[in-house]
């Protein structure tokens, strides 16, 4: 997966969690929680969807540091180099 693919897939997952937000217009470097008005439950569901769909398990302690779509995409791509679970 390249960055474009990863961001596209992440946008699709976000779109399912925030169907009333314009995820397509979200800049990759914008604060996800602020721009999409995500609460903790939304964020938790996003992390669960990433695990289910992209097979990348993000730890709870990492979540506060992932502010933007670009942050999440980098984290997902970094996992592509890890040993599969």
């Amino acid at each position: 997966m390249n960055t474009t693919d990863t961001e596209r897939r992440l946008r699709a997952l976000l779109g399912a969690i925030a169907p009333d937000a314009d995820v397509g217009a979200l800049p990759a470097d914008a604060d996800l929680r602020e721009e999409l008005e995500l609460d903790s439950l939304d964020v938790q569901r996003f992390v669960a969807a990433i695990d289910a769909e992209l097979d990348v398990a993000i730890a709870d302690r990492e979540i506060p540091g992932l502010r933007t779509l670009a942050d999440v995409a980098r984290r997902v791509e970094a996992a592509a180099g890890e040993v599969p679970r």
Partner: protein, 262 residues
């Protein structure tokens, strides 16, 4: 046709907002889906529904308000340890513990769980927890977790996640908006520190939680930093008095000090 659908949706929300659940037929009728909430007409109808319910509340219900601060140190520590061992889909957020504690506490104080009908309080046998969900772009809905007093935090969180997704995307059934016996307003991590809510008629009370923040707190004579949350109660003074309201908040606090038992 579209206007008819929108009127029906508005009516469904209105019924949920202002009809006493005890006498509402909505829960037993075949459920009509509530369409997506993105269009302007629907937003206007929702605003009118909220306006009617909140005006009725402030006109009819003599509110009293209580507040307490709860140390969530034990709850967040337990949550952190639990989540570290589980895949993302099984992890909990603090809000799940707040809802579980509120539902359990409401069972213990019946004067705050139920409805005001025909001039008297009618305590409910079960706890059906209304949860206020804010919609992007304005407005709110309050889907109901039925029999929440019996459910643990994991079950509550799964149900809530499903209800929130459908509240925002459309597709809530009328039955899922009706029948709450008490409502929770949880502002979440980006919210203000306290909320004193307006009771959803004909319910008897509303519990509010502000954002969880690290703050100084006295423990055993020392000042330490703890994650604190403000828990508030708005209650109907026709049905209960301060001591009962205080008991509900104290019970929520007590339960949150033993999160493993929730």
């Amino acid at each position: 046709m579209r206007a008819d659908v929108e009127r029906a949706a508005g009516a469904a929300l209105a019924a949920a907002a202002v009809t006493p659940p005890a006498v509402s037929a909505a829960a037993t009728r075949p459920a009509a889906p509530v369409p997506p909430s993105g269009n302007g007409d629907h937003r206007a109808a929702m605003r009118q529904t909220i306006a009617a319910a909140m005006s009725r509340s402030k006109r009819e219900i003599p509110h009293y308000y209580l507040a307490t601060t709860i140390d969530l140190g034990a709850a967040t520590a337990w949550l952190g340890e639990r989540n570290a061992q589980l895949p993302p889909a099984e992890r909990l957020v603090p809000a799940a513990l707040l809802l579980a504690a509120t539902a359990r506490a409401a069972r213990a104080v019946p004067a705050l769980n139920g409805h005001w009908v025909d001039g008297s309080a009618q305590p409910a046998a079960a706890v059906h927890l209304g949860v206020i969900v804010s919609l992007r772009g304005g407005g709110l809905v309050a889907p109901v977790i039925h029999d929440a007093g019996e459910a643990g935090p994991a079950a509550l969180m799964a149900t809530l996640g499903d209800l929130v997704a459908r509240a925002r995307g459309g597709g809530l059934r009328a039955s899922e908006l009706a029948g709450a016996t008490i409502t929770v307003s949880n502002l979440g991590e980006r919210g203000a520190e306290q909320v004193f809510g307006v009771i959803h008629p004909p319910q008897l009370a509303l519990v509010g939680f502000g954002a969880i923040r690290d703050r100084p707190w006295a423990v055993g004579g020392d000042v330490v930093v703890r994650p604190l949350v403000s828990a508030t109660l708005s209650a109907d003074h026709r049905a209960s008095d301060g001591p009962q309201g205080s008991r509900l908040l104290a019970e929520i606090d007590r339960l949150l000090q033993r999160p493993e038992e929730l």
